[in-house]
Amino acid sequence: MKINISDAQIRGAHVQLEGLSKVYSGGTVGVDAIDLAVAPGEILALLGPSGCGKTTTLRMIAGLITPSAGEILIDGTSIVSLPVHRRNLGMLFQNYALFPHMSVLDNVAFGLSMRGVAKAEIAERSREALRLVQLEALADRLPKALSGGQQQRVALARAIVYRPRLLLLDEPLGALDKKLRESMQLELRQLCAQLGLTMVLVTHDQEEALTLADRIAVMRGGRIEQVGLGREVYEHPISAFVANFIGTSNLVDARIVSRDGDVTVLETDQGQSIHSTTRHGFALGDAVTVSIRPEHVTLAPSGASASGPNSLEGLVTQAVFKGQNLAIHLRVPGGADFVCTIPVAMTGSAVPAAGQIWRMTWPADRTIVVSRA
């Protein structure tokens, strides 16, 4: 029977985590009762700073760590009691974890030979998988003779050759340079879509999460802070932590002083007034943080009349050229620092320079109210 990986569309697994916890023997809580669902064929990124529990969660799914409590369901069946090697998963590691003593082909063939597949078929399917990652020519090399990108592609071929329904990725591209990483990200996405694989990805790199994943789960201190589509999380972070972890935000601590329909009026700790028309769940008097993305701030020379409710003057401390954008750092009276980015093409003649005072304005519908910290 001839099996062709690229032909065979797999229906990716449906993954559910229910109350999944890991408490280490010292009493440290690694993961604290998280619930999460991944749809078939979906790419989910677990994003967070180191120590947030994302890797522990991934390793619990893989079976490399035994959960202290909770369930891991794949297509509705619990796999918690299944040993690692019976879970039929694929996994990519940050350092590729290729078997140094086996040729590229043998690395790829490993999973198949563990599954007792006939020899001829192993050879055929392994070569097929290598063709898929465009490394067929290097089949007889040893891993040490390959570049980092090639090694990770071998690892990918090794992980998908036995057609797992779920692919786990542990910071898979962290060791590659930026260019290679970007092309690998696209390659991975394409391959997953092609194969219909479900993927769970662990990363601390928000850009990677945004590029690769359909949905992002931001983790913090063993819990999931927010889950959602990449754009949704970016545009509507629920906390200052998420707002700052995904993209850059100007964060200003404030208090809600009044509400009028869609319009919330806030007063910053320095006494300035800010208007927001975005939805949020806070009540009058709540201490909150206001998040404004740098690209939503427009700058005008000092003294120009305010064009909206949200307007602040600040002293330019730095102007940094970033290729397409110019990042302007300003300090407002009271000490808060702001960053705003303006497209280089739009700067015209009047470019803010250090030492000048400029006026910042931003729309109320881009003023996001999030919980503090």
């Binding site: 090697h85 996994m91 974890a97 078997f99 040490k144 992980a159």
Partner: protein, 307 residues
Amino acid sequence: MNVAATPTLPRIEPAMLAQLLRGKASGVALVLPATAFLAVFFVWPVLQMIVLSVTQQRVEGVLIEGWTLDNYLRLFCNDLYFRVLLRTLRLAAASSVVAVLLAYPLAIAIARGGPGLARLVTITLVAPLLVNVVVRSYGWSAILNNAGALAYVLKATGLSASPPALLYTEWAVLIACVHVYLPFVVMPIATAIGRIDPSVEEAARVAGASRMMTFLRVTFPLSLPGLAVGASLAFSLTAAAYVMPQILGGNFSPLLGTLIEQQVLTLSDWPFGAAISTLLIIVVLAVNLVFIGLLSRRFSRWTGGAK
């Protein structure tokens, strides 16, 4: 740099050490003391001993000088020495194989176990090394003899009414040799396993390999450099052993080491003792070279060239 900040170091030293860290001739300078030391205090005296075996022989209890090959002819004229040589090789090989088999679980416990387990295993392996081999051999004899601890336990627990006679057999010698040389096998294997990236093993398990298959296909092959060192140590040390065959073998299974000791201490036949020693050295050296050569060539193909 402020001199006052490092008052204990004389000014000349950094330059000297810089010299040591770089440069090619310095490599030679660093190995020279040890090489010279061994040349003078090891190679030279041992060569003198070997020369003895072709320049002297004992005839009817009296030393005769002059070039001779008789000491070596004697080795081949009597099948006793051939038998003992075979036994020595067999026992040394068995000892290193058994020691390697037992060493793996212990080495894995050291390299991959928690700190508590690793500590327990290391201490249990190393601390007994301070107790003299003779005492440990008598310890085994107290366990293995037919009125000993093993028989006592077997009888008391009703497991066996007539325990097998182990003392004064080659088995007893093998048991004791494995016991005494096991730590020298465990340590290099543990070091080798410790050097294997754990994620490589994890990758194997995720790819569908059971713990056993992961060990056989990944951990074991990657630990071969440690195995080579440990097995060759166990082989060499067992081949030259003479205490265990005496005490536990009841002298029924002498090894070349036993014969050397006998020639030297009982018969004062140094030339013949030196001839047996030369035979032993050559055989052990040959086995080591072949064994280590095979393994390391294999292994350097996998991992070498990285540096």
